[in-house]
């Protein structure tokens, strides 16, 4: 399985004249962009040091926001169709208007509001309205929407979802022979591959008929992004497998169950938004989120939970307390790491992770 390098791939794509929009985390109707032949390249943790962004943002702002701004300030060639700021949290909300109204970029800046709280019919109706408004916005800039194209985009999205669901299931039941690093590289490739290329990649994934060699230590991970590749590598070294995830950049963006194939695109897109797993950034019910996580832990027979928290991420940090408390009450070991998306792994974090595996191992052996 060959996964193309993110920046190489996007560079190549931009050279072919492909329209590419830079999209910030996390939830947005990608299918609408596809229907306008716009490729969505997601910006979560672009590489490079934070330098210029420090002139625009305080030290107490989360690294995802800062790194994204650093990337935007470079005015990269690969982004040629504008930036999209979905409404995810207070900081990204403000960054969107800061970039658009104060800093100013040469490309158009779009926003997309994601409703918050517990959902009901009023929310569903509103979500349909904002989908349509977004469509209108794109139509005024590009051309009238071709309904066939939107349907095709939804079908493609549906196929990708089905594959991802199957792969997740396989991961949980040890029917996938991928290291932590390989697995998350595969998951994250959807952030930049064209949907057809991504589907092609997913189709090549080998799902085993029989469970693989029994795993030494099984963990579930929760947070915004998967642990950095250095940490994943280290976990691989220690023989710790991440068998399930509750990540915003991971399973929280895949419907909880497999949906019927799309017939009416707007209905499909609306339904899809409302069957995504519970997520802090949408502000849903805490019990529902806890229940979802417990089920995943049970299904994957995870022995412990690793919370990988992005520093200063309010949505995650608020929910974190209750999730930890509940898991501890069930005697499930919990480890929390704090990341600023650095490219190395600190000695302290190594000690934490190793001590945590010693703890899990002790629990198994006694």
């Amino acid at each position: 399985m060959m996964i193309p390098d993110r920046s190489e791939y996007l560079k190549g794509l931009a050279q072919t004249g492909q329209k590419i929009m830079g999209v910030l985390p996390a939830l947005y109707p990608r299918e609408l962009l596809w229907a306008f032949d716009i490729h969505a390249a997601e910006i979560w943790d672009p590489p490079g040091e934070i330098l210029h962004a420090n002139a625009h943002l305080q030290t107490t702002i989360c690294p995802i926001v800062k790194k994204s701004l650093e990337f935007i300030l470079k005015d990269p060639d690969i982004i040629n169709a504008g930036y999209l700021f979905p409404h995810t949290c207070d900081s990204l909300q403000n960054l969107g208007t800061q970039v658009k109204d104060l800093i100013g970029v040469s490309l158009p800046v779009y926003t997309f509001y994601n409703p918050k709280g517990s959902f009901n019919n009023t929310t569903i109706k509103y979500y349909r309205d904002i989908l349509q408004n977004f469509q209108l916005t794109l139509e005024t800039i590009y051309r009238p929407l071709d309904p066939e194209k939107l349907l095709t985009a939804c079908e493609l999205s549906h196929k990708i979802d089905s594959h991802l669901l199957a792969i997740h299931q396989a991961r949980m039941t040890n029917h996938l022979s991928l290291s932590n690093e390989e697995y998350f590289k595969l998951m994250r490739a959807q952030e930049y591959l064209l949907p057809a290329d991504y589907l092609n990649l997913l189709e090549q994934v080998d799902i085993l008929d029989q469970p693989g060699e029994s795993l030494k230590t099984r963990l579930m991970v929760s947070g915004i992004l998967p642990p950095t590749s250095k940490i994943l590598e280290f976990l691989d070294e220690l023989g710790v497998s991440i068998v399930a995830d509750d990540l915003l950049a991971g399973s929280r963006r895949i419907p909880k169950f497999s949906m019927d194939a799309p017939s009416s695109p707007i209905d499909y897109l609306t339904d899809r938004f409302f069957v995504l797993p519970p997520c802090s950034t949408r502000g849903g019910d805490l019990d529902e989120r806890m229940h979802h996580i417990s089920t995943r832990m049970k299904d994957s027979r995870a022995q412990g939970m690793l919370f990988d928290m992005v520093k200063f991420c309010e949505p995650e940090l608020f929910d974190h307390r209750l999730l930890v408390k509940t898991l501890r009450e069930k005697s499930i070991p919990v480890l929390t790491l704090e990341t600023e998306l650095e490219h190395h792994i600190s000695g302290q974090d190594k000690t934490r992770i190793e001590a945590f595996t010693e703890l899990l191992f002790d629990m198994v052996s006694t």
């Binding site: 900081s91 918050k116 408004n133 608020f318």
Partner: protein
């Protein structure tokens, strides 16, 4: 609702509270001496203390008489008032804790229970209060209902969810889509519909029926009160300004937490009268006002006195603030003939739910109309919607208006976030620039 509890509440309201207030007043006979740099203090300060103490005092006798709701500062409280909820404003309470320099204690309680130190200090203080029952206000009644709106921040949604979970009580959330350019029809309809959807829930929790005419009266009162508040702030355009913004931070409490009630309406008439009188007599809040400043962001509650004195001694007066203005800015949209839509417009467009271009324009306008010479921005660790973007706002304002400005890194209520040395140096440098720019 027990008759005994109701009787007790009535007695306390009519006789108990005034007696306690009079006693406290007696205890406080000897007023703190006013530093020379300040003008005569506002008479209305006394009335403010009275109504706030009374509100907290009476809240002890409320259980069993009225249903209690905890409400966020930007929530459309008029709707709750139609069901006669006794409202408590945790933000207001957290500010009180902060002003008493006890913020770190309460934050500590929340932190030890697992809430991160990086979370909003208003939230941590409130959660610390909820987990421990501690409060400098005597005793606060447990809520029957939580009511929040993300028109001030998404944080309140997480914070109130945590309370709802802990106390197992209903939470009503009013989702206010952020205004990136202008409110769309879909946004307005969505908000208006949510308000109407709340009625059956509020009827169930309160055990009362919704009457449109009662609601309209409340709305009218709220509009009128906000207008008076706006007029009081406008009066600060006078030179010298009759109040400082630090006074206004205090006098803000009723418009935030008692909005829609007669007590708040009456209160601002009294304040208005005094402020008008001071303007006509040329009485200033500081004895010699040479420089006029604008404040951006929420107050640094644990340093209000320090800052007020620091600036007054340098003949500098804060005459306007984006913060105090927030409860006057959008009430013009309210309309009893079209309550739901007009509330959607009012509550959807408040400063923190509006884009930064709107904020920049508003600040520029305030700087011009209030004859402002310099700007102090409080960059607060706790509040992302207020603080993300401040660096560029400052750049735009200083460039366009050639206005000296300084940014202070601090916090609204966690006194641990304060670097004395650093702040002093910055403030002094700012004052030097300001003095140089005006007369240099």
């Amino acid at each position: 609702m027990s008759i005994r509890a109701e009787l007790k509440y009535k007695i306390m309201k009519d006789y108990g509270a005034p007696a306690v207030m009079a006693f406290q007043d007696f205890k406080r006979r000897k007023p703190r001496p006013v530093p020379e740099a300040f003008g005569p203090p506002l008479e209305t300060n006394k009335r403010l203390k009275e109504i706030l103490s009374r509100h907290y005092f009476l809240s002890r006798y409320v259980p069993g008489v009225k249903k209690v709701a905890w409400v966020t500062s930007g929530a459309p409280v008029e709707l709750l008032r139609a069901f006669d909820f006794y409202t408590i404003y945790p933000e207001n309470h957290s500010a009180l804790v902060g002003a008493k320099k006890q913020g770190a204690d309460y934050c500590g309680i929340a932190e030890r229970s697992g809430f991160s130190q990086d979370l909003c200090s208003y939230a941590r203080i409130d959660l610390g209060h909820m987990l421990s029952g501690k409060t400098p206000a005597g005793k606060l009644p447990k809520p029957d209902l939580l009511f929040c709106s993300n028109n001030i921040c998404q944080t309140v949604l997480y914070w109130y969810k945590a309370i709802a979970h802990e106390l197992n009580i209903p939470l009503i959330h009013f989702d206010a889509p952020f205004v990136t350019t202008e409110q769309t029809e879909a946004d307005i309809n969505y908000m208006a519909q949510q308000l109407q959807d709340m009625i059956p829930i509020l009827e169930r929790v309160s055990g009362r029926v919704f009457y449109q005419n009662i609601f309209e009266d409340i709305l009218k009162r709220s509009m009128e009160t906000s207008k008076t508040w706006g007029a009081i702030l406008d009066a600060m355009k006078a030179q010298p300004a009759p109040m400082t913004i630090f006074d206004a931070f205090g006098h803000l409490a009723p418009i935030v937490s008692l909005r829609g009630l007669p007590v708040a309406q009456d209160y601002y008439h009294i304040l208005m009268e005094e402020v008008d009188a001071r303007v006509s007599m040329g009485i200033g809040a500081i004895s010699d006002e040479r420089y006029r400043l604008i404040w951006d962001n929420i107050a640094i509650w644990y340093k209000v006195r320090f800052l007020a004195t620091f600036f007054a001694e340098r003949k500098m007066n804060f005459v306007t603030a984006t913060y105090t203005n927030a409860w006057a800015e959008t009430t013009g949209y309210l309309d009893v003939k079209d309550p739901w839509i007009s509330m959607a417009k009012t509550y959807g467009q408040i400063i923190l739910n509006n884009n930064l271009k709107h904020r920049l324009d508003l600040m520029k306008k305030m700087i011009k109309t209030y004859s402002v010479d310099g700007m102090v921005m409080h960059s607060t660790r706790s509040c992302k919607p207020y603080s993300v973007g401040q660096f560029d706002l400052r750049k735009a304002i200083t460039a366009d208006l050639d206005l000296p400005a300084v940014i202070l890194d601090a916090d609204i209520a966690d006194e641990r976030v304060w670097s004395e040395q650093q702040i002093h140096t910055r403030l002094e440098a700012f004052c030097e620039t300001l003095e140089g720019s005006k007369f240099g």
